[in-house]
Symmetry: C2
Subunit: 259 residues, 2 copies
């Protein structure tokens, strides 16, 4: 194993033809044996959804010459599960997801298919990283991210990651990054708005939109880092236990009356 | 406000006609003014998915007499967002989700639409609880859960919950519960299997199945509590930062070469 190239699984949530995954694939090719398993269509906002009530497709495709690529009808999390069980028949040495077209900092981590794919990799015990560029423009340029992607992946291949954790890496929109900052997830949420419309049959429907609302003035957060020109690196865990709340709950008398 | 009945939002992921939500609605009716906003079809395994690439439907329905009920084409998380913004036009005093038909203990918390609806409630700052019964049989009996649901909801209405946390409550399959235990999320994962089939057109497809694999011998976990006949109560948070991993990352030399 020592002298073999690491096997790197590449996935995303924007779909297999998105420019961000192409950028990630090309950097990963310098560092290991790349296998791509990605959704056949955009899956933004899919969170940690899995497909259990309908069948999954998985097809070998050749979107780019010289790459081993598979597309699936499933979610980003499905893609990781299919990659391990039906494509690689082993765990890859690394799982990278992205580069997402849009921010996955702060609360976005929980809605993001890109990040959920990386979380799934970590649940499988695979060192995993999600990459996202905070630029929503159609012509977003992913190339300034590449030196950082390369360095972070090299460091993770060399050092591993603490058990039960993965990385959430976000790049600021402005390409002259000032460096890299290890951060915590900022406290934020979306203030939803629903654009109400009437369909041609006279029935109401809604488009969900939302404004990002930051409730955190900390200078140790991913939002601060990004606003100040740094690449943010947040270690993420999937143990969702609120340990600090356990004493509070143990002090409550639930007083169950089962008669 | 003090003398008014609390407004209680009820949702789930098994869909508005599922027996578990009916059970929850009836208990909640004793404790407050109930508004139901739930998916119009089963949404198990939807995790924290939101619907951004297609329109949402939201329709008033009367599945059960005497209840204010709305069904949506969206995910459980969409239902919470729609409830706050388009039905209640305020935050409810409590958000309850379930009772789920099947376990949402340990790693299930991350895949579960039921739990993600409660997480979304907590992101909105609403005291939120997800309830699940670890019984997959068609005729699962939700009635033994009801005294516990009543007591837990009363306690949360009285005491609130620590900021940024919600509750994940699971009921063992056997109905003679021994009591309630505050726990942490057990370390576990699914060992996937993909049932490979050929469709009538000769193309391969897969059904995802999986075996639950517990990697945790702790007696302070939800799995231990459930296996020993207790109702498990895990406080859950949506700050996914792996704080323990920050020092490890700060010691890594990422050595970024930007040209």
């Amino acid at each position: 194993m020592k002298n073999e190239k690491p096997v790197i699984l590449v996935t995303n949530d924007d779909g297999i033809t998105a420019p961000g995954i192409r950028s990630l694939m090309h950097v990963m090719k310098e560092l290991g044996h790349v296998v791509v398993v990605a959704p056949d269509s955009p899956q933004s906002g899919m969170g940690h959804a899995v497909t259990i009530a309908k069948p999954l497709r998985l097809d070998k495709v050749e979107v780019y010459k010289g790459f081993e690529m598979y597309q699936s009808s499933g979610t980003p999390v499905d893609c990781v599960k299919l990659a391990v069980n039906k494509v690689l028949h082993r765990k890859p040495d690394l799982c990278v997801s992205g580069i997402n077209h849009g921010a996955n900092s702060s609360i976005n981590v929980i809605y993001s298919g890109t990040m959920s794919a990386a979380v799934e990799g970590a649940i499988e015990g695979i060192p995993s990283i999600g990459f996202s560029l905070c630029d929503y423009s159609q012509n977003a340029d992913f190339s300034p991210c590449e030196p950082y992607v390369r360095s972070i992946v090299k460091a993770v291949l060399k050092n591993g990651l603490p058990k039960g954790s993965l990385l959430n890496v976000n790049f600021p929109k402005a390409p002259d990054f000032k460096g890299l900052k290890v951060c915590r997830q900022a406290v934020a949420k979306y203030e939803e708005e629903f654009d109400e419309r009437i369909d041609p049959h006279g029935r109401k429907y809604y488009w969900m939109t939302g404004k990002f609302a930051l409730y955190d003035k900390g200078e140790d957060t991913d939002e601060w880092a990004l606003d100040n020109g740094y690449v943010s690196v947040v270690p993420v865990q999937f143990d969702m236990t609120a340990y600090n709340s356990i004493p509070f709950l143990n002090n409550i008398d639930f007083n169950v009356q089962t008669k």
